[in-house]
Symmetry: C2
Subunit: 258 residues, 2 copies
DNA sequence: CGTCCCGTTGACGGCGCTCAAAACAGGTGG
DNA sequence: CCACCTGTTTTGAGCGCCGTCAACGGGACG
């Protein structure tokens, strides 16, 4: 499969152009606008409150999005994986100029982005991205689809935070780690620490740890270093108590009836 | 101001086309694709689990989005107002056909949409919308912007649900009712019942009622029928304990300027 | 006037948070 | 290899916030 400068197979820019344009050389005319970066684990891509100037296209790895309250409390808003977007908040199609203010460019990141793993991202200036979107409907459609998926994920999290108990939250979370195509891969990578799981689910470290302990006692899971092994998915699903946080596979039935 | 068939000033379709096209008559070439509907309060636009075939453009009024667990628990995901989008979940730019399955059109609504007030919406088939997006970058940009705003709102709610106490949640919620342009309009419409507020904030009716009572005793608010009057916004903001869902007061800059 | 629904208030109990400490793993240097 | 230090995970004890259950009041409406 052909890859453009950003070397990212899932890149919304490259793929879309490849699919739409007959001419190969056009595939990467955006090359000059992209900056490729590699980050190590636990690096900050940008911080909440900083001015947002770039859009990030995540190529490989995982990035956590987190938001703080002034008193230090921290909430993880989500985890982004390959193909997803970061730092979209300052893309003002129209009106950036028409509204008064400091040239419309002083929008701030509403959250902090920190890498969980080694990460490759493509960075592009908002204005450049805007120009691309204006000229490439196919890219726009891809972006719309990505945003919609992120909105879905956010709503699933809202549901879990709003009405689930601690065990239900943790069970849902574990099940959400199951990759889409996993037929029977029940040993899952655990990208988050106990503290981060707590910050994701609106709980405390101790509560998360206790729930994990209980699941272990009930032979639902095992927890080797940095991993989670699901021993009894059916039972775990019933504990999760309803719709899980798993991304809905395309084309198949969404909202499994469980 | 000119208005197209849908009669909706904020309509992403009409406005965008008006702005981009020089010819007036082009402004409403999408007219034939739009169906305008008027709904009374407490009507269901669509239900969670039903197949999603239409996109809704909200013209006037308010619509609440809610999601249920199998056992009946209910979570309000958000409230949509004029100009926002509904039922976007089935818009599949590419891949709807390429992947196997039942023609790719069997995507289901992940939430139920119910009107809170009298509501005017424009309805359009997903495939028609798709065609419009493919041909009109300006429309795509508007849609992207709307989705991004909805994502921001969702993330604010996630933060509130995940790490705020009951009084903080309620205070944030009240402040979120302050309209963007309100210089000093402190009497706010309350579109939600106590039960709905509870379902929005992940609390119970009793807790919400108790917090309101406490705020009343502390002379922070008054609660005439169907309204909320803010008596001491500064104090209420401090109770909200951090970033609120409210648009930032002019002059001050807190975090998200959504 | 009776009924229904919504909001309010009280009593009580449990889930999950707080505080505290021990168990554990990992890295560093002796 | 072991001692030591550091940060994470686990476990325990106690309590507080908020959910649960119940009763009451008021407005809308037939």
């Amino acid at each position: 499969m052909y890859r453009c400068a950003c070397q990212v197979g899932e890149c919304v820019l490259c793929e879309a152009r490849l699919a739409s344009g007959p001419a190969r050389e056009h595939a990467c005319e955006v090359r000059g606008l992209l900056t490729r970066q590699t980050h190590r684990p636990r690096e900050i891509l940008f911080r909440q409150g900083e001015p947002s100037e770039h859009l990030f296209l995540l190529g490989t790895g995982q990035v956590k999005l987190m938001s703080n309250l002034p008193d230090g409390r921290e909430q993880i808003l989500g985890v982004r994986i390959a193909g997803q977007l970061l730092g979209f908040e300052a893309l003002h199609p129209a009106g950036a100029a028409e509204r008064g203010g400091a040239a419309g460019g002083d929008v701030q990141h509403p959250y902090t982005a920190e890498t969980l793993t080694t990460v490759e991202v493509c960075r592009i200036r908002h204005r450049d991205m805007l120009a691309i979107l204006e000229q490439n409907p196919a890219v726009s459609l891809r972006v719309i689809e990505r945003l919609r998926q992120e909105l879905d994920q956010a709503q699933v999290l809202i549901r879990d935070l709003g009405l689930k108990s601690a065990p239900e939250k943790v069970a849902s979370f574990i099940l959400s780690l199951v990759p889409d195509d996993a037929a029977r891969a029940d040993i899952l990578l655990m990208p988050l620490s106990r503290l981060e799981i707590a910050e994701f689910l609106g709980l405390t470290v101790e509560t998360v740890s206790r729930v994990f302990a209980k699941f272990r006692r009930d032979d639902l899971i095992r927890t080797p270093r940095g991993r989670v092994e699901v021993l009894n998915r059916a039972h775990l699903s019933s504990v999760a108590g309803g719709i899980s946080a798993a991304p809905t596979p395309r084309g198949e039935r969404a909202l499994p009836a469980y």
